[in-house]
């Protein structure tokens, strides 16, 4: 297992070399944080208690959302984007020469990326938001722990989806179309456009059951302590998606490898 840890560490270091990108990205997140706060303040003043959130819940949601966008990879992530590129160009063959498992390798790479971005892209906007607005924070060590687990699970679910999208390139000529579709779904169903608690009726039910809900909405609700069925069921919901996606990812890896090895690409 040492190798996967070593890979994650190198990936973390790699992302730490992009200083200007990190800085400008964090700045952008902060600007968008203020814009969303303006919108949400108006909304929650007109309809107090909307979706079960009070005003400070809504504002906290904004800053957590801005902080998690990149670590979770709502718009896709550099790492899985590169994997898709390797599949497209056939360079993926190089990865098969290594005595490592493809999915674990890329999971480690993605984990290193997410850890870096969580600290430096997630932390900065949240800090600014907390200085300007009155935000909610977890109230107990146990809740902090739950948040940490939920965020980790959320990133893993997101990786699972992005990994499948990247591997789809083995069967279709270009996975970029699928990647765009996945991004649209992700923007809508993760809660990064509007909190999913605002979606009415069956649309809300469906949205809250998707894997994308497990990436962003669920971890934020754990932070806010607003999960409809409690923290336990929220984490279980994420875990179910992780299991499904890991299984699907392993199957996809198996068939992709088989395709390369038997059919020759």
């Amino acid at each position: 297992m040492g190798v996967y840890w070593a890979i994650a560490v190198r990936s973390f270091r790699r992302f730490s070399t992009y200083r200007i990108a990190t800085l400008s990205g964090a700045f952008t997140n902060t600007v968008f944080g203020f814009i969303f706060c303006g919108v949400y303040l108006t909304l929650w003043e007109a309809r107090p208690g909307l979706g079960g959130y009070d005003v400070s819940d809504a504002l906290t949601f904004v800053w957590l959302q801005q902080g998690l966008l990149l670590p979770v990879g709502i718009f896709g992530a550099t790492t899985t984007g590169e994997l898709g590129e390797r599949v497209r160009t056939g360079e993926i063959a190089v990865d098969l020469y290594r005595p490592t498992h493809l999915m674990l390798w890329w999971l480690s790479v993605d984990a290193g990326r997410a850890a870096f971005q969580l600290l430096f892209r997630g932390g900065a906007p949240l800090l600014v938001g907390a200085l300007v607005f009155n935000l909610n924070f977890p109230s107990s060590a146990l809740q902090w722990l739950a948040v940490a687990v939920a965020v980790t699970f959320g990133i893993t679910v997101s990786f699972g989806v992005r990994y499948l999208v990247a591997l789809s390139g083995f069967w279709i000529t270009d996975s970029r179309g699928v990647a765009n579709l996945a991004m649209a779904m992700s923007l809508f169903f993760s809660g990064s456009t509007l909190p999913l608690v605002l979606f009415p009726g069956w649309i809300g039910e469906v949205a809250r059951a998707t894997p994308w809900a497990a990436t962003l909405q669920v971890p934020i609700d754990v932070w806010l302590g607003r999960n409809p069925g409690g923290v336990g069921s929220a984490l279980a919901f994420q875990l179910v998606w992780i299991l499904i996606l890991v299984l699907a990812g392993q199957l996809a890896t198996y068939f992709a490898t088989r395709k390369v090895v038997i059919a020759g690409g």
Partner: protein, 324 residues
């Protein structure tokens, strides 16, 4: 015992092309009935024109492609069934790609490799020290890979492929794009590794100087068939490429007429005569000197390039497969 054994190995690909709505499928044999063995410590040059089946062979040897028929054993195992296990015992370098971490210092890539191949720390340190010295990597260890020149990067990639003491190394055009000095250094290094560690090296290249400097054995493949297997000298001898006699006369004269030679070119007083490789040049020179105002002359033997070009042009599955 041979470290690599191929027996009647073939690999076919299905190529589908589309014209209008009709889809046609065609089978292409990239490798066809290939058999050879490689002994431990051998350095074999594996050459052939683009699309000859070189990469397909290497892919089958590393286990990322299964043969359509025939059997392969590398280091005693079937590569495609033992891909991950075999990966620990082989090294692979692609001249046109890198396996190094692009944005990180070179040493980070080496550190990951130590973990990846589970190389004991002491052994890793020892190997790294050797390669750093031989490949002059000392000043480069802290430099991000993206800032390295092509030659420096290549040295890094080669070190990376050898750090886990592989028994077999596949080098795919390792000197492509390098300048003459970098090429020479790399060849020297590979020769030394082969000598000191008995590493088996399979080298594909279009640069015949690589072959000349490194390989005790050359295999030529074309259209998936083996067309030559032997030494470089044997390769030269196998093809009856004509030799050329370049004659400078005192004045411009009509083409020289000597039996057994043909004038292929005249440039004023200079004439180019070709003659079969089996003919000795001495009597020809004597005859010319006796009948023409000879000023100067030189003999040029066919270059290895032209010999190989002839091999490629030969219809495949011919009787010219040499077995030496």
């Amino acid at each position: 015992m041979s470290v690599i054994e191929l027996e009647n190995v073939s690999r076919a690909f299905t190529v589908s092309s589309r014209t209008g709505f009709r889809r046609t499928r065609r089978e292409v044999r990239a490798v066809d009935g290939l058999s050879f063995t490689v002994e431990p410590g051998e350095v074999m040059g594996y050459i052939g024109p683009n699309g000859a089946g070189k990469s397909t062979t290497i892919k089958m040897l590393t286990g990322i492609l299964v043969p359509t028929s025939g059997s392969i054993r590398v280091a005693g195992v079937d590569p495609s069934r033992n891909r991950l296990k075999l990966a620990k015992r082989i090294g692979v370098v692609f001249g046109q790609r890198t396996t190094l971490w692009w944005d990180l210092p070179l040493k980070d890539s080496f550190a990951v490799l130590q973990k990846m191949y589970g190389v004991p720390r002491a052994r890793h340190r020892e190997n790294l020290a050797t390669f750093v010295e031989l490949l002059d990597l000392g000043d480069l260890l802290d430099v991000p890979v993206r800032q390295l020149s092509l030659g420096q990067r290549m040295r890094g990639d080669i070190a990376a492929a050898l750090l886990h003491d592989p028994e077999i190394v596949y080098l795919d055009e390792p000197t492509i794009g390098l300048d003459i000095i970098s090429k020479a250094r790399l060849r020297e290094f590979l020769a030394q590794v082969n000598k000191e560690r008995q590493t088996t090296i399979i080298l594909t290249t279009h640069d015949l100087d690589d072959i000349e400097a490194l390989c005790s054995r050359v295999m030529v493949i074309d259209h998936g068939h083996q067309v030559f297997d032997g030494t470089l000298t044997g390769l030269r001898a196998s093809q009856s490429a004509p030799r050329t006699l370049i004659v400078d006369l005192a004045t411009s004269l009509p083409p020289i007429e000597i039996p057994g030679t043909t004038v292929t070119k005249t440039e004023g007083p200079r004439q180019h005569l070709t003659f079969p490789p089996t003919t000795s040049a001495a009597p020809l020179v004597a005859q010319i000197a006796a009948s023409y105002p000879l000023v100067d002359l030189s003999i040029s033997d066919p270059t290895i390039e032209s010999i190989i070009a002839r091999l490629y042009a030969t219809p495949h599955r011919s009787s010219e497969v040499s077995d030496m």
